[in-house]
């Protein structure tokens, strides 16, 4: 009985204990429910992040579409999705869920891009709900909102960076294609052309296919810079090379001059070589022309200076004579010295004549350089025959034999100017025959170094080589007793130079005769050689 009683007690105790356990059980259940609820909240939050990641990764989605979609999924992650609304404000733009209104029950977070506030996310409830950690919102919801806001800031940062890279890529592409430099992009390891721009294609006259995939040293036209693999390795080693005035030949055989610059630089973790090739043919031609003109101008200037000097000296000289002998004439008239009077008058007269002659020839000199008659076609023999007609008198008087070699040369120029060259040379030859018993003049044409060279040779008194350089100077007379002003050869030289030619003299010395040679490059139309 006692045993049964004690068993009864034990059972009662157990039952008592069991009763306590039931309360605990209820608590336990509530706790579990709470945990399950929190788990559900967390699942929703994870889902929110998952959706966010999914939207970001979606190809071709714009930032605006992204904001709107994000806005639409946000309420689903809050405790009461059916009464939740959301709004995203970025700069001037605003994105809302359809049901969005501003209510008393809202929470917000600031979107920061590169550290500065750019916008915000607002989440709200449309109805009142019991107060929790932050109004009706959970602590976890605040954390979620902050996390999403931060993520959004990152997304915007990345997108902006991508846009700017895309923009600069586009700019580079436009620059590359629109550049007025030819550009080749080479693979640094192989030297293969990986890209070529339109201008390069047009400049060299090769097709894109003829460039792409070729090694740079296989292109051929750059052989002066990179003729083989070794040159390419050197270019790589130097990193930067530049060549000015590099001659190239295009596909059509046209010769152009270029400036070549090559640079090695990094693209990501790969190196490329960019070669810029600028066509400077026109610039170079203009530079060369400018140099030529500058030189010509300097020469003309010097000639003018020499001319002024000569004129001032040589015209002043007879003036000194006239003025001084006028003084003597006055004195001699007073003393009645008739012999001296005659002498004075003679000196004055000669000086005045000399002056008149100088002035006439000066005018002639100016005319030679200035007036250009209509150019005509005329043969060499025609010119010579006409000249011989003009100087027939003096030639006959001195009994000079003239030999003309008949060459089929045709000239194109100012007929009377051209005649003046031969006329001056022939007059000169006749004048300086000296006491030659069998005076002879040879007129002809010879071909030297691809040039048509005209000559007038005589067997007269000759000239010593040391006087050659003075010969063509204005008013230069080697023999002061000879008539003339020393202008003939200066005029001949001037006309020759009008036709881009050169005139020179050769003589074996005194009494050995003289040969004048000259070229007329811009007047010779046909040299009879078909050249």
């Amino acid at each position: 009985m006692e045993k049964a009683l004690s068993e009864q007690r034990a059972l009662t105790d157990t039952l008592k204990n069991t009763t306590v356990s039931r309360d605990d059980l209820i608590k336990e259940v509530a706790k579990r429910k709470q945990t399950e609820y929190m788990l559900m909240v967390q699942i929703r939050q994870v889902q929110a992040f998952y959706s966010l990641a999914e939207i970001i990764e979606r190809e071709g989605i714009s930032l605006h579409e992204f904001y709107q979609e994000l806005c639409d999924i946000l309420p689903k992650s809050w405790q009461y999705p059916e009464i939740a609304c959301a709004r995203i404000v970025i700069g001037e733009s605003e994105f809302r869920t359809k049901n969005f209104i501003e209510t008393e029950w809202m929470q917000s977070a600031t979107v920061k891009v590169n550290g500065s506030p750019t916008g915000r996310i607002d989440i709200g409830y449309l109805e009142q709900k019991p107060n929790l950690d932050e109004g009706p919102f959970l602590r976890e919801e605040r954390m979620l909102l902050e996390a999403i806001t931060e993520r959004l800031g990152r997304v915007i940062e990345r997108r902006q960076l991508e846009e700017s890279i895309k923009g600069s890529e586009l700019r580079y592409r436009r620059f590359f294609e629109a550049s007025r430099d030819g550009i080749l992009i080479l693979d640094v390891d192989t030297g293969t052309v990986v890209n070529v721009n339109q201008f390069m294609i047009e400049m060299m006259g090769f097709s894109r296919e003829q460039f792409l995939g070729k090694k740079i040293w296989e292109l051929g036209f750059l052989n002066d810079v990179i003729a083989n693999r070794d040159n390419f390795e050197e270019l790589k080693r130097k990193k930067y090379i530049t060549y000015e005035n590099l001659p190239l030949e295009t596909a059509t055989g046209q010769k152009i001059e270029v400036e070549f610059v090559s640079n090695v630089y990094d693209v990501g973790n790969k190196k490329v070589i960019q070669c810029n090739i600028r066509n400077i043919t026109v610039r170079r031609r203009m530079e060369i022309e400018k140099e030529k003109y500058t030189k010509e101008l300097a020469e003309k200037n010097m000639e003018l200076e020499r001319f002024t000097y000569t004129v001032s000296h040589d015209l002043k000289s007879p003036l000194v004579t006239i003025k001084t002998f006028l003084g003597y004439l006055e004195q001699d008239t007073l003393t009645g010295d008739t012999r001296r009077i005659e002498k004075d008058k003679l000196f004055m007269n000669n000086a005045a004549d000399k002056m008149a002659k100088l002035l006439a020839e000066l005018l002639e000199m100016c005319r030679v350089g200035r007036i250009v008659n209509q150019p005509v076609e005329v043969s060499f023999s025609e010119l010579v025959q006409e000249t011989l007609g003009i100087i027939a008198g003096p030639v006959a008087e001195k009994g000079v034999t003239v030999k003309v070699s008949d060459e089929p040369v045709t000239l194109y120029g100012d007929r009377s100017r051209l005649i003046e060259i031969w006329q001056n040379l022939l007059e000169n030859a006749v004048k300086f025959m000296g006491d030659q018993p069998a005076p002879q003049i040879d007129i002809g044409v010879e071909y030297k170094d691809n040039q048509t060279v005209f000559f007038v040779c005589d067997n007269g008194i000759g000239i010593e080589p040391k006087y050659y350089s003075k010969l063509f100077n204005l008013f230069e007379k080697l023999n002061p007793k000879m008539e003339g002003t020393g202008m003939g050869l200066a005029i001949a030289k001037r006309i020759v130079e009008l036709y881009q030619g050169r005139i020179w003299v050769e003589s074996k010395g005194l009494r050995q005769g003289t040969c004048f040679f000259f070229t007329l490059p811009s007047a010779v139309k046909d040299n009879g050689k078909g050249e």
């Binding site: 000097y309 001032s312 000296h313 040589d314 002043k316 000289s317 007879p318 003036l319 000194v320 004579t321 003025k323 001084t324 002998f325 006028l326 003084g327 003597y328 002498k343 000196f347 000669n350 000086a351 006087y467 003075k470 230069e476 007379k477 080697l478 023999n479 002061p480």
Partner: protein, 148 residues
């Protein structure tokens, strides 16, 4: 030297100007002897006693040279250069007497050790005065070393 005439070599291509110089010296009645050549080459031949100038009595060494600048064959400045770089000729004073008053010519002449630079005046009285002063200075007053 005393009492002996000063020998002047006139290098002048214009016969009229040579005549003017001759007349002025005649008028000055100074003891001198004028010798004239007409171009630069002749002047050098004379001074080197070459060719037809090899007769020392007929063509004595001058005490003074009166040199024009614009000369046929060899230019006055070249003649001056040669004289002044020749050890035995350099002591002979060279007076430039020229038509042009070109600054560059003048500078070059002095650079090549010309002893004086004169410009021919375009006036009878002035020219006469110049020659008179020249005569007094270079013939009457100036002292010359004894010949060699």
């Amino acid at each position: 030297m005393k009492g002996e005439p000063i020998i002047i070599l006139v290098v002048e291509d214009d016969p009229a100007h040579a005549e003017i110089i001759r007349r002025n010296f005649e008028a000055s009645r100074l003891a001198n002897r004028l010798l004239a050549v007409e171009d630069g080459q002749a002047a050098l031949d004379y001074l080197n006693r070459e060719g037809k100038y090899n007769d020392a009595d007929k063509f004595p060494m001058p005490n003074l040279i009166l040199l024009d600048l614009r000369l046929p064959l060899v230019d006055g400045l070249d003649v001056l250069k040669i004289i002044k770089s020749d050890q035995k000729l350099t002591i002979i004073p060279v007076v430039i007497l020229t038509t042009s008053a070109d600054e560059a010519d003048m500078v070059k002449a002095y650079e090549h050790h010309a002893n004086s630079f004169l410009v021919k005046p375009v006036d009878f009285t002035q020219f006469s005065k110049l020659m008179e002063t020249f005569g007094y200075y270079w013939v009457a007053w100036n002292q010359y070393p004894h010949e060699g």
